[in-house]
């Protein structure tokens, strides 16, 4: 499997105040799959994504991603892992306000070993017309497309999307999902989307339900539909 998480535990706080964000969670995701992780607020979705992305470390358990073990990596090694393998898309985009769309993307291509062609990515995400615009001059959907472009420019093997459409209207959300699907198809990128919107799950190859820090269900979606047909 491309991503493999076994008996993962992540605890915040100590003693009676301890909160288990991940409580012996398991997860398997195949290469090139689109995986949607569903769960209510506080269920541990974001923590799970942070673990896969190498932003945080497990207290217990084992984890491998993109063929490397993430267990026991130092901060420096995790940074290298993120740089080489992972593309992040955040709910609130986190674009750098002082830089244009094009420059925001180049911020990542600058440190990538073998980045994709900028024009190609802009074209794929239909951002050519906005390339010289600053984030404050973009709509929510354009923002998120720029964030996806930034994540995709280094051609990561893993794209992690945190509440990708949480801040978007239905039309923009559909649009953004269509582009994520396009990236998955064009570049074979493994995509992990965490959301509480069950409608998005229909475009996934794999759907995982998480509650109270445990993966309660994981299925292969036999009835996968294209993103453009989603009823959000």
């Amino acid at each position: 499997m491309f991503i493999c998480l076994k008996d993962a535990v992540k605890k915040y706080g100590t003693g009676e105040a301890a909160v288990y964000a991940l409580n012996h969670a398991d997860l398997m995701i195949g290469k090139g799959e689109i995986c949607v992780i569903l769960g209510p607020s506080g269920s541990g979705k974001s923590t799970l994504l942070n673990m896969i992305g190498g932003l945080d470390t497990l207290d217990m358990g084992e984890m491998t991603a993109a063929g490397r073990s993430l267990t026991g990596l130092s901060a420096k090694e995790r940074t290298l892992y993120r740089k080489e393998e992972v593309g992040f898309v955040f709910q609130f985009y986190n674009l750098i306000p002082d830089l244009t769309v094009e420059e925001n993307i180049e911020v990542v291509s600058d440190i990538a070993d073998d980045p994709l062609d900028l024009d190609e990515v802009l074209e794929a995400l239909e951002l050519e017309a906005y390339r010289r615009r600053f984030p404050r001059e973009l709509s929510g959907g354009q923002h998120q497309r720029a964030a996806i472009a930034r994540a995709m420019i280094k051609n990561p093997r893993l794209l992690l999307c945190d509440e990708l459409t949480g801040a978007l209207d239905t039309r923009s959300a559909g649009n953004v999902l269509r582009f994520v699907e396009k990236m998955n198809r064009r570049y074979g990128t493994t995509v992990v989307i965490i959301t509480h919107n069950e409608a998005i799950a229909e475009m996934a190859d794999r759907i995982v339900w998480i509650r109270d820090g445990r993966t309660v269900k994981s299925i292969v979606n036999e009835k996968k539909i294209p993103a453009e047909q989603l009823k959000l």
């Binding site: 420096k76 992040f88 986190n94 002082d98 420059e103 911020v107 990538a112 994540a151």
Partner: protein, 732 residues
């Protein structure tokens, strides 16, 4: 890296922060540079000029003239250069011309403009007088009953500060000047005075002492004045040293405080970027890359500030240095900023700011990236931020208290800005106040006399009235000159009192003034050695007490004791003090002083330091406005979300202002209150450092009105910066 494009854009978006930081950096560093450069330029000039023009080590007069052969013999016997200096004072329409015969070995004059007097009826005059009286080369000038053509201007190393008499307190360049003419013209001037100029070329001390003893034995010295005690020579170096000491004093306060303040602000600004840092870290940026990126932001105010400091210093150094020498002969000092000083001026603040940013980024990156992404790194268990949680008080009060104590670094910046501004302004005022206060104190403690006559010969009977005293110049073992005053005990006009206010009787021994005690480090009960400067005879005296007088380096004793030092009769006297003006023949009076002359002396010092004090007050305002502006700006940027949310909730701008800024008014109180003792202590230290130069020990004093003005200016500066920030905050 594309990230670098952020620099210019971010600076445009944070112009006020960068401008204030740069202004603060320039203001703090430039003042240090200006004082330092001026001081060293004067010292360089003095060293060079004194050496080139063979400045004297001393001059003296004798009762028996020393012949040319006598001079040669003395030069052979001792390692000295000795030369007779002939001169004559000529009064013409209320102006005194001191015409010298040219010397060849000591105190050589330097023609600074025009040409030397080579022909009959030609004269060169001192440059300061020519400048002041707007006399041009080629003009005719009357000396005595003859007109001379001015062919040039000159400077003399022993007259760089133009005192007509050595014990005068202020220069005279309006009714006194020096002149040189041809030897033939000089010979026509009639009877002249003669003094001897000496340079000690060997080891100072024993050789000089032996020489002085020999001269006194053979030729009977009537006066001796060492260069170290000659204000005309001494003041140049003292002025330079004052500038240099001032620069170091300023360096210890201003740049360090300003740099520390900006470092704190930079650290805070980096912290406000934590979401960005978290994002970049998530995208794969390493600690090194991020540190480098933020170092670039921090370097900007350091580099720009450093460069501007160099530009400002390079442009202002020369006029500033010359401004500090307005009371002196127009010395050709060269005030230049050296390349290494300019480099250090850029490097030091830049490195400090970069270090602040690096440490801050490093500290942030030690936090969990997820917390950085959420913008909540470093907030976790900070108890002070949770202060009053659960208490039933208004949210405004909680907000105000947490704003103050929850962000100690921010509060410290505001406090430091207010404190520094108030401190610098108050120090400026304190210099004025202390000196004026000292005049009052001295008038009160110096006795009830008003006139003081120094006589040119000893008087054994006093038919003129007043109190006859014996003033004996003496030197201590370090060569410092002071005066022993022999006076009858129980006399009322001097009104000598000790530090407890008790009257003292000179019959009981030797009483030193508090200034003597401070400068010489003597205490009651000490036995010290005094030398007669003419005969170099030793006298050991035991100090019986200290009398209150911070303006004169004196020792009071009985007339018998004073007479014993110079070996004269006990009823002899050479000084008369009186409450009223006395009718003493002019030929008997060497100098006439009034007690109120001290006011003139203080006015002189105030004149000399006035521009410096004004600069300090201006600087205080600038620093207060800049630092408070930077700090309050930080307060606004850290409260952007709160301000926006209060607006959404329907709060009026004024109410938002009260909630966000209200609590910080409290920081004005400790900032201002602490500036009082700090300024008091600093000006006390300042005056103690310059007590020897000023010849008086000025006690620190701040008038209540100065305190009030300082408070008004500090609060005004705070309100101004707050107003400026508020104008900007409406854009949030």
């Amino acid at each position: 890296m594309k990230l670098r494009r952020r620099y210019i854009r971010n600076m445009r978006g944070n112009t006020s922060f960068y401008v204030a930081s740069v202004v603060l950096t320039v203001a703090a560093l430039a003042l240090f540079f200006l004082f330092h450069i001026a001081g060293n330029a004067i010292l360089d000039f003095a060293d060079h000029f004194f050496e080139e023009q063979k400045v004297e080590n001393a001059h003296f007069t004798t009762y028996v003239p020393i012949t040319e052969q006598g001079i040669e013999e003395l030069e052979e016997q001792y390692v000295i250069t000795l030369e007779a200096q002939h001169f004559v004072n000529i009064d013409t329409d209320g102006t005194t011309a001191r015409v010298f015969r040219k010397t060849e070995k000591v105190d050589l004059y330097d023609v600074t403009e025009g040409e030397d007097a080579k022909s009959a009826d030609e004269v060169i005059i001192s440059e300061g007088y020519a400048d002041n009286m707007e006399i041009s080369i080629g003009e005719e000038i009357r000396i005595g009953d003859k007109d001379y053509t001015v062919t040039g201007f000159f400077q003399r190393p022993d007259y760089l500060y133009m005192l007509e008499n050595e014990d005068d307190s202020y220069k005279n360049i309006s009714s006194f000047f020096l002149a040189y003419m041809t030897d033939e013209d000089f010979a026509e001037l009639g009877e002249t005075n003669c003094q001897y100029l000496v340079r000690y070329n060997g080891k100072e001390g024993k050789d000089a002492e032996d020489f002085r003893k020999a001269v006194n034995e053979q030729y009977h010295m009537s006066s001796y004045s060492a260069a170290e005690e000659n204000q005309r020579i001494l003041m140049v170096r003292q002025q330079a040293q004052m500038f240099v000491v001032m620069s170091w004093m300023l360096l210890c306060i201003l740049p360090l405080a300003a740099v520390a303040l900006i470092c704190i602000v930079i650290s805070r600004k980096v912290k406000t970027e934590q979401r960005m840092i978290g994002t970049l870290s998530a995208l794969g940026y390493t600690t090194g890359q991020l540190a480098l990126h933020y170092a670039g932001f921090a370097a900007a105010p350091g580099i720009i500030g450093g460069i501007l400091t160099s530009v400002v210093t390079a442009a202002a150094a020369q006029p500033y240095g010359e401004l500090g020498l307005t009371d002196y002969e127009p010395m050709r000092i060269s005030c230049q900023l050296s390349w290494y000083a300019a480099f250090l001026g850029i490097l030091v603040p830049t490195v400090m700011y970069i270090l602040a940013a690096l440490l801050s980024v490093r500290r942030l990156l030690k936090q969990n990236t997820v917390l950085l992404l959420n913008g909540s790194a470093g907030e976790g268990k900070h108890k002070l931020r949770r202060i009053m949680a659960g208490r039933k008080v208004s949210f405004r009060l909680k907000f105000a208290v947490r704003s103050l104590v929850g962000s100690p670094a921010r509060s410290f910046v505001i406090f430091l800005g207010v404190f520094l501004g108030g401190f610098i302004m108050l120090t400026g005022f304190s210099v004025y106040d202390s000196m004026l206060h000292m005049v009052d104190t001295v008038q009160r403690t110096a006795g009830t006399y008003e006139y003081q006559y120094t006589l040119s010969e000893l008087l054994y009977d006093n038919p003129y009235g007043g109190e006859l005293m014996l003033a004996v110049p003496v030197e201590d073992e370090e060569g410092n000159t002071m005066t022993v005053i022999g006076t009858d005990s129980g006399r009322s006009l001097l009104n000598l009192t000790d530090e407890e206010g008790e009257k003292v009787s000179t019959a009981e021994g030797y009483f030193i003034t508090s200034l003597t005690a401070y400068l010489s480090g003597w205490e009651t009960g000490d036995t010290v050695t005094l030398y007669n400067p003419l005969s170099m005879e030793r006298n050991r005296i035991r100090i019986s007490g200290i009398v209150e007088n911070d303006a004169a380096r004196m020792i009071y004793t009985s007339r018998e004791n004073a007479a014993a030092i110079i070996g004269t009769d006990t009823d002899a006297g050479n000084m008369i003090i009186s409450e009223k003006r006395l009718d003493i023949p002019e030929s008997l009076v060497r100098s006439e002083n009034r007690k109120s002359d001290l006011s003139d002396q203080v006015d002189t010092v105030i004149d000399q330091t006035g521009y410096m004090i004004n600069a300090m007050v201006g600087l205080g305002i600038l620093i207060c406005v800049s630092s408070v502006y930077v700090a309050v700006n930080m307060l606004v940027s850290e409260n952007r979300r709160n301000i926006a949310m209060f607006r959404v909730l329907g709060y009026q701008e004024r109410a938002i202002g009260r909630i966000i800024f209200g609590s910080n008014y409290l920081l004005l109180i400790p900032g201002i209150l602490l500036s009082f003792p700090a300024a008091y202590a600093f000006s006390g230290l300042f005056f103690r450092s310059f007590a020897e130069m000023m010849g008086m020990l000025v006690g620190a004093y701040i008038r209540p009105s100065s305190c009030a003005v300082s408070v008004i200016l500090t609060v005004g500066s705070y309100m101004t910066s707050l107003h400026l920030v508020k104008c900007n905050s409406y854009l949030v």
